[in-house]
Every structure is written in C-alpha cells, then in structure tokens.
C-alpha cells in the first residue's frame, strides 16, 4: 500500500514538474535517466561492464533523425526505427562481446563502439562533424503538436515510463532472477542448467534497445543527433550516472542521471564551465573509492541498519 502511495506521489511530481522547472532540462534528465537505467540492467543486474553503450544511444539518435528528417516518417515511427536499429546493433556487439568476460568484456564493447563511432564519422548520412541538425519534432499521432515544449515533455515522459516499465518488468521477472544468479555465481548458474550466454545476450540486447530508445527520444527533443552522443565519453558518463546513483538499484540510475545532468547544466553556464571534465573525473574517483554503493544503495543500507 505504502509502495503504491509512493509511486502515485512520484508520478504526480513528474506530471507537475514542467510547471516548476524548465521543460527542456527535464526532458534531458528523463532521457538520461532512461539511458542510465538501461545501462544498469546490464551492469547492475548482469554484472557486465559495457563501455560501449554510447554506440546504441548515438546510433539510435542518428537513425531516428534520418528517418524523420529524410524519409519523412512520423515521430513515433522514427523513434521506433531508431530503437530497432539499436537492437540490431546491440545483438551484433553482444554476440561478440559475451565471448569474453569481466575486464575483456569492457574493452571489447569499448573497441566495437569506437569502430561504430568511426563509421559514423565517415558515413554521409550523419553529417560528419556538424551532426544531423534540424530534425523536425512533428506531431504525436498527428494530433498533438510536439514543437510545444510542454506537449513534448508529456510525450517524452510517456516514452520513458514505457522504457522504465520494461526494465522494471525484466528485473523482477524470473529472467531477472537468473541474471542476478549469473552475476553472483556464474559456474553455479551453469551447473543448474541455465544457458548463461543466452541470458547475458538477451539482457545485453534489452539494455541496448532501451538505451537506443533514450537516444532516439533525445534526438527528437533537441532536434539534433551528433557525434557527442556516440563518443566514448558518453559511455563513460552513463557509467558515472549509474555508479553515482547506485548499481543494481531500480531508482539509483535515474537519481544519478538527474544529478549529473543538472550539474553539467549548471556548471557549463558558470565560471567553472571549463572544469566540467575535471569535476566529472573527481566524482568518478570519489564514487569508486568511498561510495561504491551509490546514493540510493547507501540510503538503502542505512535504512536497513536503522531497522535492525
């Protein structure tokens, strides 16, 4: 009961948020919260550190932008096309990457994402250094004009809630339990008869797909798909968001994403603008050394302690 009350409160907050804050910033937060949550599925629950998620995020952004701007697809279909592209890319990268574990998995995903990045630099449809600009926001089902920031916000909220729903469903399903079992003790999961490679691959593909959904939505919000979205700095940023919020917690990544996005936004306009990378690096180091459970993880641990 308490739980539903909390969810209702959260939803109300999300619904009234654009009245209180700048909608474009909120949409950015939502997109990155979804991106980080998708990433958390593979790292927090699957125990696999992917350093290549920017490829799915940025790849979907490009495909969506191209589909809407050049092919003239309606917004929803454009986002779906981009998401599907991320899924295919996720399958290709995943099949190769799950052949190795641990540290190697991270290096392989990073290298493959870098390869995708180079392809984007060379490919004509991405617009090279300029990126894909002026992607029209279009309408929702031909009814609601999305060029209005408030309308766009509710559209993005809807898309993100669907994405969060898929992730939460995956985590709390038998599939999610097997995934955690593999993370905690791979040989034991194997000996119980689970085909662990298939579980890992499925988790990776779901994660890549939702990351793509986030990137696709972001490209429509900002009407821009650029190399920044696909660069490995973006992969690092999503790791940082997830780590800061709390690995393997449902809400942690969203919390981490909100903090990092807000921080970047505040810093970039202030006198500390040139120090953003340095500050991000510092947060990274502090998180790893002193704060490995992340904000939500530490809160949960503190709550548990106070009850015992």
């Amino acid at each position: 009961m308490k739980k539903y009350l909390a969810y209702a409160l959260l939803l109300t907050l999300l619904l009234v948020a654009p009245l209180l804050f700048y909608p474009v910033l909120l949409m950015k937060v939502l997109c990155f919260a979804l991106f980080a949550s998708a990433f958390n599925l593979i790292l927090g629950y699957g125990g696999l550190l992917s350093f290549g998620h920017a490829a799915f995020f940025g790849g979907a952004a490009y495909v969506t932008g191209h589909a809407i701007k050049i092919w003239g697809l309606p917004t929803e279909l454009g986002i779906l096309t981009g998401t599907a592209a991320a899924m295919v890319l996720g399958l290709l990268v995943g099949v190769l990457a799950i052949r190795r574990q641990g540290i190697y998995f991270a290096m392989i995903t990073l290298a493959l994402a870098q390869m995708v990045y180079f392809v984007f630099i060379r490919a004509g449809f991405t617009g090279g250094e300029n990126g894909l600009q002026g992607i029209p926001r279009g309408t929702f089902l031909g009814l609601v004009d999305l060029s209005n920031d408030r309308a766009m916000y509710y559209f993005v909220l809807g898309v993100c809630l669907i994405g969060f729903g898929v992730i939460a469903r995956a985590v709390h399903s038998p599939f999610g339990q097997v995934l955690r079992a593999i993370r905690d003790n791979e040989p034991r999961a194997t000996s119980l008869g689970y085909n662990i490679d298939r579980y890992k691959l499925l988790a990776f593909v779901i994660s890549a797909t939702i990351a793509g959904l986030a990137g696709a939505t972001k490209s429509v919000v900002f009407q821009l798909a650029s190399l920044t979205d696909a660069h490995w700095h973006m992969s690092g940023e999503v790791v940082l968001m997830t780590l800061l919020g709390g690995l393997g917690t449902i809400f942690g990544p969203a919390v981490g994403a909100s903090i990092i996005v807000t921080l970047q936004n505040t810093l970039s306009s202030g006198p500390l603008g040139a120090w953003v990378t340095v500050i991000m690096g510092l947060i990274f180091i502090v998180c790893v050394l002193a704060f490995r459970k992340g904000i939500v993880g530490e809160l949960q641990a503190a709550l548990r302690k106070s009850f015992n």
């Binding site: 190795r100 540290i103 493959l112 040139a274 690096g281 050394l289």
Partner: protein
C-alpha cells in the same frame, strides 16, 4: 628495382609500412605496459593513454623550463611519470585490493578524465610543437623510400625497450618474482617476498613505459593533451587480440597490428581507422582467448 608493386608506388607502400611500424611500436610498448600492470594488479589501466600524454608533456615542460634536451627528457620523463604512478598506486589503487576488478577500470577511467581535463584547461586542446633532436634530423634515401632518421630511431628504441622488458621478465630473478606474483601473490608473500612493493614497482614500470612512448611520439604527433585518449582504445583492441597472457604476445601483436594498419592505409584507406577493431572481431569469433591468451 621495385618499380611498381601491385599497382602501388613503392614510396607509398614502404612509407605506410614504416608509419605502421612506428604506430606498431607505440602499440607494443603501451600494451606491454598494460600487460605488466594487469599481471600484478589485475587492473586494466584506463589512465594509460593519459600517462602517455603526461610523458610527452613532461618532456616538453622539461625542455621549456629547465632546458633539458631530448635525450635527458627521454630518461627523466619516464622516471617522473613512473614516480607519479607509484604515488597513484600507493594512495588510490591500493585501496581497491579485494574489490571487483571492474572498479579498477572505473577508477583509472576517472583518473584519465581528471588528468586530461586538467591539461586541456592548462594548455588548451591544440598541440605544442616539439622538435626532434638535432642528431636525428634528416634521413637516408634507401632507393625504394626515404627513411627519416628520427622515425627509424623510434622503432629501434621501442624494440630495445621491449626486448629489455622481455629479458627482465623471462630471464632474471626479479622477473621470476613478478611472474610468480602474477600466478599466485599469496603464496609468493608467504615465501617472504614483499608483494605490495613488487606490485607498486610493476605499476610504476608499466606507467614509465607509457611515458617513454609518449616522449618518443612527441616530435611526431606534437604534444597534445588528448594525444592518448583515442590511442588507448586502439591499444585495448590490440590487447584483446593478443591476450594479456604473455610479454612476447603483447610485443608481437602490437607491432603486427601497426603493420596491418599501415597496409590497410595503402590498399583500403576507408577502413584504416577501423581495421584493428575488425581484426579484433574476427579474432573473437575464431579464438576468443586471443592469439597468445590462455583460457582459464
């Protein structure tokens, strides 16, 4: 004599081959350092590219403010950066003992962001020119190509450093300790060897190798705060191809990947920036453990 080979002018072919060999030397020295560090610390040093850059900057700063020439910098810069590595290991990496290896990668990633961010802030993102030593100016015409002395020196110096590292690891007492530390640090400690000291030295040495490569690269690529940031990813791919199991494996894979890259520039220029990643994908399909890796 080689007037026309496969329709490619020999100057182009051998020029790219030399360039590939130079890149390969950097890959070899850098992946060698990564292998040494990984062996003892079980950490993939994401800061390797940043420390390579730090080596080049150390040389540039030594020259600018202390008027130390190239040869002095080639010795001093790796020592300075190696010392920084020792400090980093003692104060940061040491705290991650017993934690999942992935955190080591994340910590060093944060370090790389911090170091590169600081240098971009201080020196800007554009490169600083760095002159090659006078003794190595000019070159020799070999008939089929022009060989600049400095480029030849880079390849020779890298090979010598690789060979010395190989000799120390495979043929000396301290190398035996290092290899034992890779296999079973607890047992080695029980025999009375100071394993934490050994680990710190290994990190310092691996980092010094990166800085050495940075100084060698400085006259070729200019001294740029981001010179190591994309390079490190290619080196990771090289490491995946070769596997981090053996010193010789790292050297051979590094050099040959450089050559492969150089040849691709001649025959299939569009793929030259991605060829190493393509090779990595093929190796993963055919031999997941890497060419020199051991499966365990």
């Amino acid at each position: 004599m080689f007037s026309d080979l496969l329709g490619i002018a020999p100057q182009v072919l051998f020029g790219q081959l030399l360039l590939g060999l130079i890149n390969g030397s950097f890959y070899a020295v850098l992946s060698l350092g990564l292998a040494v560090i990984f062996g003892l610390l079980n950490i993939v040093n994401f800061a390797h590219g940043a420390l390579y850059m730090l080596g080049a900057f150390a040389a540039w700063l030594l020259g600018k403010y202390l008027h130390i020439d190239y040869w002095g910098a080639l010795i001093l810069a790796p020592l300075i950066v190696g010392f920084i590595g020792v400090v980093l290991d003692r104060f940061l990496l040491r705290r991650l003992a017993g934690v999942d290896h992935l955190y080591g990668l994340l910590l060093t990633f944060g370090l790389a962001m911090l170091i590169e961010g600081l240098f971009v802030k201080m020196f800007g993102a554009s490169g600083q020119p760095f002159a090659a030593p006078k003794a190595l100016n000019g070159g020799v015409n070999l008939g089929f190509m022009f060989l600049p002395y400095y480029r030849a020196w880079v390849v020779v110096a890298s090979l010598v450093v690789c060979a010395v590292t190989w000799y120390v690891f495979e043929r000396t007492k301290i190398g035996a300790y290092l290899r034992a530390g890779t296999e079973n640090p607890k047992l080695l400690q029980a025999f009375g060897v100071n394993v934490p000291l050994l680990t710190t030295l290994a990190y310092g040495y691996g980092v010094a190798l990166a800085a050495f490569a940075g100084v060698l690269a400085a006259p070729i690529t200019q001294v740029n705060p981001l010179m190591g940031s994309n390079l490190i990813i290619v080196v990771f791919a090289v490491v995946v191809i070769g596997g981090m199991g053996s010193i010789m494996g790292a050297i051979v894979t590094g050099l040959s990947m450089g050559v492969v890259e150089g040849l691709t520039k001649v025959f299939w220029p569009e793929a030259s920036s991605t060829i190493i990643f393509i090779v990595m994908a093929i190796v993963l399909v055919l031999r997941p453990a890497g060419l020199f890796g051991r499966t365990n």
